[in-house]
């Protein structure tokens, strides 16, 4: 019994070290914040669009499972994820909508002309207020919104193909059938 007591510090150390090792090896970036908006209704917004577009309103999105992507022409990681978004729209036929965060309309237009336009519609959030309502703290961020207009997932940072196939598409498929 006494012997076991002497082992206690080693056991405690192993437990703490194991916990740290687990957290380190999980690959999760501790600076990535959990969203406070998960399972809450998406905030109301009605944003103007580019010259030839109709803009974007929350009400227009209801009834379908949609992906809302906050992007900006000045944002380098947004360029990185653009190819993934193009594939999502073309190959997977995902209802993808874009919100241009603090971007000049002319710059957004040029950005989409250069890289292609994967969005069904685009809203311009020039003040960044809609982004704040969503809890966005940096572009790009991508949200999955269900048929009832609730936020179900937030992805911080550029999407890669692994995120899409492992996380996004299965969730959107499940939500579409529920």
């Amino acid at each position: 019994m006494r012997r076991l007591l002497y082992l206690l510090p080693i056991v405690l150390f192993a437990a703490v070290a194991g916990y740290f090792a687990l957290a380190l090896s999980s690959g999760r970036d501790p600076q990535t914040l959990p969203s406070a908006m998960i399972d809450k209704p998406a905030p109301e917004f009605a944003l103007g669009g580019l010259d030839n577009g109709a803009g974007l309103q929350l009400d227009a999105l209801k009834g379908q499972v949609v992906l809302v992507n906050f992007f900006a022409s000045w944002c380098e990681p947004c360029r990185d994820e653009h190819a993934v978004l193009m594939r999502l729209a073309k190959d997977n036929n995902v209802a993808l909508y874009g919100i241009a965060y603090k971007d000049k309309p002319a710059d957004t237009t040029r950005f989409l002309k250069q890289l292609g336009d994967p969005y069904r519609a685009i809203g311009l959030d020039e003040t960044g207020r809609t982004a704040i309502d969503f809890g966005v703290y940096g572009v790009p961020e991508t949200y999955v919104i269900d048929k009832e207009g609730r936020i179900r997932l937030r992805h911080v940072g550029p999407l890669n193909q692994a995120d899409v196939t492992r996380e996004l598409l299965p969730l959107m498929a499940a939500l579409a059938h529920s």
């Binding site: 914040l33 406070a36 908006m37 960044g128 207020r129 704040i132 309502d133 809890g135 703290y137 940096g138």
Partner: protein, 154 residues
């Protein structure tokens, strides 16, 4: 000497740098001071170890302006902060609230102290309870005396 004096003089006029820009300030000093106090307690989500009061990040600027708008619109301090935590979560608060999820954070150290103090108390009690060593026998005493004398002689 002159240099040091000049340096000290400079130090005395140096004010801490804040990121709050003149254009952001509210005209009413009472409201502005409330906003200042609140913004010092809110984390900038971009540079996560700074408050939005200190941070130069554009999002911090937006949140400062938004906070001032809420306060100017008649929100209480709690309402204005809740407006922001509804969107960004409790991570926004530099001082985490006391709630079930943070009990370990708030009371963990106290718990550790209690456990350690308890352990130390038990250890000390046990040690005192140990019986005194048996008295020396006659032969041991003569041996000790001899050793002591030898030591004195040195």
């Amino acid at each position: 000497m002159k240099f040091i004096a000049a340096f000290l003089l400079l130090l005395s006029v140096a004010a801490p740098a804040f990121a709050v820009e003149p254009g952001e300030r509210l005209a009413d000093p009472a409201l502005e001071s409330r906003a200042r106090t609140l913004s010092e307690q809110l984390r900038c989500l971009v540079c996560q170890n700074e408050s939005i009061d200190e941070s130069g990040a554009p999002l911090a600027h937006d949140l400062r302006v938004l906070l001032r708008e809420r306060i100017a619109a008649g929100d209480s301090d709690a309402q204005a902060v809740k407006f922001l935590t509804d969107r960004y979560g409790n991570f926004l608060l530099l001082k985490p609230p006391v709630e079930p999820a943070t009990y370990v954070l708030w009371f963990g150290p106290l718990g550790l102290l209690v456990v350690a103090a308890g352990g130390a108390l038990i250890f000390l009690r046990r040690r005192q309870a140990m019986p005194d060593a048996p008295p020396l026998t006659a032969s041991e005493r003569t041996q000790l005396d001899r050793l002591m004398k030898e030591g004195e002689g040195r």
